[in-house]
């Protein structure tokens, strides 16, 4: 009799605990205030985040191609010359976001194989104002930058304005002389391919410090709409 009483008690406690758990997982219902008039409807804006790269004011698709029109038609690429290469990034979403760009520059052989023996710093670009360089996360091949201000929906900021190749690639390696009046000059970087890749990512501004740490692994300080590295 006593045993049956205790078993019943345990079952009652277990049931009560189950009920508590179910009650706790039920979220409170939320109702959005809507206004409807007979004349027009006012739709609610949904949370939306998006980012877009532009090259010379033309939108570039995800995985798209850069540098296709860097050298004017009929000309050959001139070493040392600064070419106009305007790369911008825009907030194509609705909510404000903080933006990071990672710029990769490297050399490949003619067959597409990356050549790690060549100096990526000879591929030069000019960053526009407003970008904070994260030296701790950067290497000569991979440079990390954060825009110092949150970008609102529809906003576009400049990233790169010029691209060039350092004259050091022309440091002569060797010359051959056929003894008949012809000199042929050979360069280490001859036949190599200059590669540039731009990654852009955005993170919400709400709880931005935690969001940036989670998404980018960076410790930053956000004050209002401004971002700085810790």
């Amino acid at each position: 009799m006593k045993t049956k009483k205790y078993t019943l008690l345990a079952m009652i406690l277990a049931g009560a605990a189950a009920l508590l758990l179910l009650a706790g997982s039920v979220g409170s219902a939320m109702a959005a205030l809507t206004y409807y008039s007979e004349i027009y409807e006012s739709p609610l804006a949904m949370q939306e985040i998006g980012i877009q790269l532009y090259e010379n004011n033309t939108a570039v698709d995800v995985g798209g191609t850069l540098l296709a029109n860097l050298v004017p038609e009929g000309e050959t690429f001139a070493i040392g010359k600064k070419y106009d290469e305007n790369i911008d990034v825009g907030n194509s979403g609705v909510i404000d976001q903080f933006i990071r760009v990672v710029i990769y520059r490297y050399w490949t052989d003619g067959n597409g194989q990356k050549n790690v023996n060549l100096d990526p710093s000879l591929i030069k670009y000019e960053m526009e104002d407003g970008w904070i360089h994260d030296a701790a996360q950067s290497t000569p091949e991979r440079e990390v930058y954060y825009y110092n201000t949150a970008v609102g929906g529809g906003g576009v900021v400049d990233v790169i304005s010029k691209l060039s190749c350092d004259n050091a690639v022309l440091d002569t390696v060797s010359q051959t002389n056929d003894g008949k009046g012809t000199i042929t000059t050979h360069y280490l970087y001859d036949g190599k391919v200059m590669a540039l890749k731009v990654e852009a990512s955005g993170v919400q501004t709400h709880n931005a410090e935690d969001a940036i740490l989670s998404a980018w692994g960076a410790n930053v300080t956000v004050t209002g709409n401004s971002l700085s590295l810790q």
Partner: protein, 164 residues
């Protein structure tokens, strides 16, 4: 035996209470895009000096760019000290270091204007078998550009010269 019947419900109750204390997971709004591009470099250059013609004790030197990149050219001649060499030519100027420099870069398939090297103090009486040599050498370097896009030559990078 009787006490063992307590254990399962008690464990179930305890696990339910602990599960209720697990916080809900949170996800942040993020977005991403990327693009890339490549540009091949064609740097090798080749230049050729034409066999200078000689008229009236003057060598006519022309250098041709037979490569794929623009180059700057400089040239000079060597002869025994008994002979005086005088240079002239449209587009050529004395660099003060023995070389004469062609002012404009030479595009692929392009050539310099003639560099005239006049040989002076030729002996008036020459014995049979007497001979002398005037060697013309030239050097080429690829065109480089400064920040403002102005072309310039870096003559410290030359390695060999050609003798004719």
């Amino acid at each position: 035996m009787k006490k063992s019947k307590w254990i399962l419900p008690a464990l179930l109750a305890a696990s339910l209470v602990i599960a209720a204390s697990i916080p809900s997971a949170m996800a942040y709004f993020t977005t991403y895009t990327e693009a890339s591009g490549v540009l091949p470099l064609d740097l090798g250059n080749e230049t050729t000096i034409e066999e200078p013609t000689v008229t009236d004790w003057t060598k006519h030197v022309v250098v041709t760019n037979t490569g794929d990149a623009d180059v700057f050219i400089r040239a000079r001649a060597f002869a025994a000290s008994a002979y005086k060499l005088t240079y002239s030519g449209t587009g050529w100027s004395d660099g003060g270091d023995g070389y004469w420099y062609y002012a404009d870069p030479i595009a692929p398939a392009g050539e310099t204007q003639e560099l005239l090297i006049a040989i002076g103090d030729i002996p008036t009486e020459v014995a049979e078998g007497d001979e002398f040599n005037v060697a013309v050498v030239y050097e080429s370097v690829p065109v480089r550009y400064d920040e403002n896009g102005a072309a310039f030559a870096d003559w410290t990078q030359t390695v060999h010269t050609v003798q004719d």
